[in-house]
Structure formats: structure tokens, C-alpha cells
């Protein structure tokens, strides 16, 4: 039985090559083809596709997605200079805030663990204000941005070496 079927498929395959119809005295070819979904399908798992569907371009969502991996700016030791490496982050946020006027940001400045709490609070504040300044230079209104500081109180890395310290010297750009 198996051999018979195989032979038939081989015949059918051979017959199909270069042909669009079959001769009457040959057995009808057995083919397998996936069932194409029809517009009258009542299968609950397959949604009907409209012919008039229009895709929406949501600029706000796109702009938000564009900044989703651009939420942190890092700083050198004792410094509050926003390095040029991070200009793309600044501009991505400015673009988003231009497109989505509801967005307001809280800029949270941080330092590494070395030094006193209050002086580091002020240093973190300088960092967040530097990021605010960079945003204002590309058109973001100052009232939409609040620079704050956590100083050294909220590290992301708990180690006591430069690798950890470098990760903690940062400003996080958060939606308010």
C-alpha cells in the first residue's frame, strides 16, 4: 500500500512539472496543500482580515520606544559635564517631548559612594541640572523638567571599586 502511494506521488510530481492540467487517463495527482483561509471561515481562532485596514503611526509611542533604552547619562569622577557621547540621548528625549506634549521628566542625579552625603547631594543636583540644561538647549521648556538628586543614597551597584562607582555616577531620566 505504502509503495503504491509513493509511486503515485512520484508520478504526480513528475506530471506536474511543466503542466497545469492532467491527462484524463492518468490517476488524479494527490497533492497536499495547506488550506487557505477564506473570507467565510467560521473558525474562532482566525480573525477576519479587512481589506481596508490602515496602520496607525503613533508618533508618541514611537518616540517613547525610541528613548526606552536611553534613560541614563553617566559622568566622570567629580564632574557634572554631560559628555558628547550622550548627546543622542538628549536629542531623543527632546524629540519625544516635542511630539508628546504631556510628557514631563524628573531627572534624578546620583554620585558614587565616596564623600559626604550632603555634598554628594549637591553634586548629584549639579549633574541633573546639567542634563536639564542640555535638554533646554535643544528646545525642551524648563518647566517640563525637574532636576532632583539622590546624592550617594541610591546606588545601583553596591561594590567598592571603580567599576561600581562608574555605574553610580549617573542621571536617570524618568517620566514624572
Amino acid at each position: 500500500m505504502k509503495t503504491y502511494k509513493l509511486a503515485l506521488s512520484a508520478l504526480a510530481a513528475a506530471a506536474l512539472v511543466g503542466c497545469s492540467s492532467t491527462k484524463l487517463d492518468e490517476p488524479a495527482p494527490v497533492e497536499t496543500r495547506p488550506v487557505a483561509p477564506t473570507t467565510t471561515a467560521s473558525n474562532a481562532n482566525t480573525a477576519p482580515t479587512s481589506e481596508s485596514k490602515v496602520a496607525t503611526v503613533d508618533l508618541a509611542a514611537q518616540a517613547a520606544a525610541a528613548v526606552s533604552d536611553k534613560r541614563v547619562v553617566y559622568f566622570d569622577f567629580d564632574s557634572y559635564v554631560v559628555k558628547s557621547d550622550y548627546q543622542n540621548i538628549i536629542e531623543a528625549h527632546a524629540k519625544r517631548m516635542n511630539v508628546d506634549t504631556k510628557v514631563a521628566l524628573r531627572l534624578e542625579g546620583h554620585t558614587d559612594e565616596r564623600g559626604g552625603s550632603e555634598y554628594n547631594l549637591a553634586l548629584g543636583q549639579k549633574r541633573s541640572e546639567a542634563v536639564a540644561k542640555a535638554l533646554s538647549l535643544v528646545g525642551v521648556a524648563a518647566a517640563r523638567v525637574e532636576p532632583v538628586s539622590f546624592g550617594k543614597e541610591r546606588p545601583v551597584a553596591e561594590g567598592h571599586d571603580e567599576a561600581a562607582w562608574a555605574k553610580n555616577r549617573r542621571v536617570e531620566l524618568k517620566d514624572k
Binding site: 564623600g115 559626604g116 539622590f150
Partner: protein, 432 residues
């Protein structure tokens, strides 16, 4: 709570109070801090202070508390003394002189019928063979530690002529399991009661001069806001919640004004405000960081930290306004000034080469500086109200711990919490 001078023999214990005492027998409360005292002081008075008779009935190791207080002051050396004496004893002077003691104190504890604990003691001058007097303290069981500290204060005052600080309080912040607690504790760190518990950091606690309120910075709203809290009621008000960060509260000596660091006008600048939040006015005018204000005890000068010269240094200026004058000149990183109660010394933290942060004491008249610590991550020095001791935070053995020290750095007591990391200590005023 009152202390009675002893001039009559102890009343006979009734059968009822004996039963009560037996039923209430309890072990001393587990101390939260392990204390390591080190160093040798310049002049130390040798004193013997054996365990008080029946002190277990009080629920606290009364004599050990007093001995530790006296030892931490740096002005006493404890002479070993076996228990067996009380305030009713007649000490054999030759025995105590033979032990090299100059002073002797002994006492007892008893449970009263009304549930209070009665602690009595007497102090003797061994050299002169003289009775220096004694006291009786009848207190609620929760106040036994306080009674012990008050006895230590009296002994200290009688023998040194100066006011003791053992019955004062300290505020500090503990961090454990991601939770921050602002605690009010005895001057030995024990008995800490939580004034505020929060999932976010708390820094810079500052006692009002009358000891009734505490100002502090809380990050509970995801930014730095200054609160003032009434310690006995827990009622609190936010006195500085402006745009940006609000921090570094400092009380004027008359308790009517607070100095703060605010970023509401950009950067970090010093402002003054009345204690009720009114009358906000800016004090410093620079584009630098100006922070960590500290009033001089005469209320006329404010010391603060500024990096207007390129790196953080301590400056001072009149509270009424004027040109700041630089105070620290050695090293390129000097922060956290604290002024002694007599206005003559300043404690602060300096950063040495290699990133080592140490507490220093400067004589303000001469400008002479002494580095008093040998640890390397010191923070927030604070004077005891008698000006004889400092407390600061540091790191030892991988833990954040507290350190008290004499001003010359000779006698230090490390207070290591068994429960948490401890930071931001600030010594409270006299009185409770």
C-alpha cells in the same frame, strides 16, 4: 522621675514586693551595640564600681552601663571590683587604696510594690576616705537605663566638676533589609526608638536646641524634602518642599531659625527660614555649591561648605549677610563642619590623598588642625553638649558603625550594631 538624696535606711521589703520582685526577675535586655573601647587618656581617674546588689531585678546591667559611660568619657579608668557592696556598705579604705582606686561607687536595685524600680547608690572618695553622697532613683522599668545614665552623670560631675552627657540622646539612621529607620537612642546608642521608618533614605537629622523636635531630610517622595517632627507626638510638617532638592537643615541656637540648602533657584544655595516655615530668604549668592550650614553657638555666624574656590572647603559668614571668609586651608576636600558648644573648636571631615576621609578638629583661634581618627571613611562628626566628646560615623569590618571620641582622639569607643548599618549620628542637647 526624681532622685532622692539618701538620708535614711532602705525601707524593709514587704512580702508582697518580694513576691513581685521574684515574679518579675528578668535577664538584662539584649544590647543592640557591641562596644569596643580603645586608647589611653591623658588623665584618667581610677574608679571601682562593682555590680549593684540585686541589679538583675531591675532588668538592666546597671553597674555595667555606668562603667561603660565613665570609660567612654576617656576621663576614667575602671578598676576591677567584685560584687558584694551596696550603698549601705562601709568600705575598707586600705583594701580600695591597695587596688589603686581613687573613687568607689556601690549601689542596689529593688522592685517596689507599685511596679517601679528603686535604684540607689553611694559615691566615696577613696583617697580622702570620704562619703560624697548618694541618690535614690525610683523609676518605671522602661526608664532603668536612663536612671543608670543619670547616676553616671552625677558621678562624673562630682569627680570632674563638669556636666556629664550620659543621659543625653542621640539620633541616627539605620539601614537594614532595604528599610531606613530614624532612631532616637541613649548616648551609648542603646534603647533606640524609631521616629520614622521608610523604604527610602533619610539623612541629615538635626536636633532642635530644646530637644523636642528633629529636622531631617526624607526621600519618601522620590526627592529630598526637609521635615520637622515633634518627637513625643510624632506629628510632622514638611518645611521645605520646593522645586529640586531641599536639604541640610540646621537650627539657630535660639531655635527660631533654620538654615537650609535649597536648589529652588538653581544649584545648591543656603537659605534661612523661620521655624514655622515663613520668612524664606536667601543667604549665599554664588554659582557654586554652598551647603552644610552650621550655626556658631553665639548665633551670629554660620559655618558652611562651599566649592566656590574649586573644591569643597569650610567658610563662615555673618548670619545677617556679608562676605564669606575661608576657614580650612589644608587639603583640597573639607566638609561637614560642626562647631563645639563653646565656639572654640570645629570638627570636620577631610579627604587625604588616596581617598581617605578622616575627622579633624581645628582650634579656631589658632587654625591648628589635628586629625583625630585612624579609620578611612569618616562622616558627620557631631559634638556632645558638654563639648568633651564627638560622635561620628565610619566604616569598620565592612559595616557602617558609630564612633565616639575624645577631642584629642585618644579614647575611642566603637559602637557596632548587631542589627543594622548605622549612619548620620547627631548628638542631642542636655535635658530630655
Amino acid at each position: 522621675m526624681s532622685a532622692k538624696k539618701l538620708n535614711s535606711p532602705l525601707p524593709a521589703l514587704t512580702r508582697r514586693s518580694l513576691l513581685g520582685a521574684a515574679a518579675a526577675l528578668s535577664l538584662p535586655a539584649l544590647a543592640q551595640f557591641r562596644v569596643e573601647i580603645s586608647g589611653v587618656g591623658a588623665t584618667q581617674l581610677p574608679i571601682a564600681l562593682p555590680d549593684f546588689r540585686d541589679e538583675a531585678r531591675s532588668g538592666q546591667p546597671v553597674a555595667a552601663i555606668i562603667r561603660a559611660d565613665l570609660e567612654r568619657s576617656g576621663q576614667f579608668r575602671i578598676i576591677d571590683a567584685p560584687a558584694g557592696l551596696s550603698e549601705n556598705s562601709n568600705p575598707a579604705w586600705s583594701e580600695w587604696r591597695g587596688k589603686q582606686a581613687d573613687a568607689l561607687a556601690a549601689g542596689s536595685a529593688a522592685k517596689l510594690a507599685d511596679g517601679r524600680v528603686d535604684i540607689r547608690y553611694k559615691l566615696w572618695d577613696v583617697v580622702k576616705g570620704q562619703d560624697l553622697g548618694g541618690e535614690a532613683h525610683a523609676v518605671a522599668p522602661d526608664d532603668v537605663r536612663l536612671a543608670a545614665h543619670r547616676i553616671a552623670d552625677t558621678i562624673y560631675q562630682k569627680l570632674t566638676g563638669e556636666r556629664g552627657v550620659f543621659a543625653t540622646r542621640m539620633a541616627y539612621v539605620t539601614k537594614a533589609g532595604g528599610r531606613y529607620s530614624l532612631r532616637i537612642a541613649d548616648a551609648d546608642g542603646e534603647g533606640g526608638q524609631v521616629a520614622l521608618g521608610s523604604p527610602e533614605p533619610i539623612i541629615s537629622p538635626a536636633w532642635s536646641p530644646d530637644g523636642k523636635e528633629l529636622a531631617y531630610v526624607s526621600f519618601e517622595t522620590r526627592k529630598a524634602v526637609v521635615w520637622v517632627q515633634d518627637l513625643s507626638t510624632g506629628r510632622r510638617r514638611s518645611i521645605a518642599d520646593f522645586r529640586g532638592s531641599n536639604s541640610a537643615p540646621a537650627w539657630s541656637p535660639d531655635g527660631q531659625t533654620l538654615a537650609l540648602t535649597l536648589s529652588r533657584e538653581g544649584g545648591s544655595q543656603l537659605f534661612l527660614m523661620n521655624r514655622n516655615g515663613s520668612g524664606l530668604r536667601r543667604l549665599t549668592q554664588s554659582s557654586a555649591i554652598d551647603t552644610e550650614p552650621a550655626f556658631a553657638p553665639d548665633g551670629k555666624t554660620i559655618y558652611f561648605v562651599s566649592d566656590r574656590g574649586g573644591s569643597p572647603q569650610v567658610y563662615r559668614m555673618p548670619v545677617s549677610g556679608g562676605t564669606p571668609e575661608r576657614v580650612t586651608f589644608s587639603g583640597n576636600y573639607n566638609i561637614s563642619p560642626a562647631i563645639s558648644p563653646d565656639g572654640r573648636s570645629m570638627a570636620y571631615v577631610t579627604r587625604n590623598g588616596g581617598g581617605v576621609f578622616r575627622v579633624c578638629v581645628m582650634d579656631l583661634a589658632s587654625g591648628n588642625v589635628q586629625q583625630i581618627s585612624d579609620t578611612s571613611e569618616d562622616e558627620s562628626p557631631s559634638f556632645a553638649p558638654n563639648g568633651r566628646l564627638l560622635v561620628y560615623a565610619t566604616r569598620a569590618g565592612g559595616r557602617d558603625v558609630l564612633m565616639t571620641s575624645t577631642l584629642d582622639g585618644r579614647i575611642k569607643a566603637k559602637l557596632i550594631s548587631t542589627l543594622a548599618d548605622v549612619r548620620e549620628p547627631t548628638w542631642g542637647p542636655f535635658g530630655r
